[in-house]
Amino acid sequence: MVGIVIVSHSSKIAEGVKEVALQMAKNHPVYTAGGTADGGIGTDPVRIQEAIEAANTGDGVVVLADLGSAVMSVGLAKEMIDPALAKSVKLANAPLVEGAIAATVEASMGSPLAKVLQTAHDARNMDKVE
């Protein structure tokens, strides 16, 4: 199973996205790294590293992040983890909510890393206005 990590400046956003994603994929390994260690707004590479390690079951991890420092902190977290694991950790170029839900459902069906990442990317193209 490809693990999913949700990174946001806000722990509430991260937990909320996880909650919605798990509606369709109960018990899937979805971990969050929202906010700073002291409960503030921000991102923490160390907490992201821990979430990635927790989400990893051996088939890789797809990370969904919001903006700015979240993306940079994911880059740093990837440099801090075991290089063998880092190779199978991918940041999705996708919107946080849509990407996380699409990726979690895809991963819960047992799809490989590349397919889960692609599904997250494709969430960018979800039309909301005809």
Binding site: G42, G68, M72, L76
Partner: protein, 208 residues
């Protein structure tokens, strides 16, 4: 003159300007730069004080980088964290820093910030202070100046760089959402970079 004292001076200068940096960031960002940077250095300084007195510059800078990464919270954490780690990588095994090494450290830090933030000069970021500072440092070396004199020139160039950030609009970071409305405000990151360089210069000049 010790690396531990130098870092203490730099950290205290950032902490002292916490409100100033936060005010700048409230104008065009998410309003937390000073708070984040002060929290970062408040976490870093006790760790530096606890290091051995062997003047291992790389070990001290690595401690600063890791400390900022795990405590800042905002974009400045990964950016400055990477910068300090890369600077540490450029001075391995050194207990004294000459002008050429200092320039290599500054450039490694700049490269780290660019790798992490994917920014270029002219986008209203800390690079608009640091790249001119590096250029001035290089000119100083060519003119035969010592490391501290070169750093003095670098500080002046960084200050001019901060002034320049008032004239341009942001295309990176939270301020980019404001676009043209960010013009007229100096960049908080360029400012904090300059505060650090200035504090280092003042310390080294007074110790010589």
């Amino acid at each position: 003159m010790t690396v531990k004292d130098a870092i203490k001076e730099v950290g205290q200068a950032v902490i002292k300007d916490k409100v100033f940096l936060t005010d700048l960031d409230q104008a065009i960002g998410d309003g937390d730069h000073g708070i984040n940077m002060a929290r970062g250095f408040e976490s870093v300084l006790p760790k530096i004080a606890a290091l051995a007195d062997d003047n291992d510059v790389a070990a001290a800078l690595k401690a600063v980088g890791m400390g900022l990464i795990s405590s800042v919270g905002g974009a400045a954490g990964p950016l400055y964290g990477t910068a300090f780690l890369r600077a540490a990588g450029a001075c391995k095994g050194k207990t004294a820093i000459d002008a050429a090494t200092a320039k290599a450290m500054l450039d490694a830090a700049i490269k780290g910030i660019q790798d992490r933030g994917k920014a270029q000069q002219g986008e209203k970021t800390m690079l608009d202070a640091l790249i001119p500072a590096s250029d001035a440092f290089a000119d100083g070396i060519k003119a035969g100046k010592n490391a501290v004199e070169c750093l003095g020139d670098a500080v002046q160039a960084a200050e001019k760089g901060v002034e320049y950030t008032k004239k341009i609009s942001a295309t990176k970071g939270r301020a980019s959402y404001l676009g043209e409305r960010s013009i007229g405000h100096q960049d908080p990151g360029a400012t904090s970079s300059t505060i650090m360089l200035t504090a280092l210069y003042k310390y080294l000049k007074q110790e010589r």
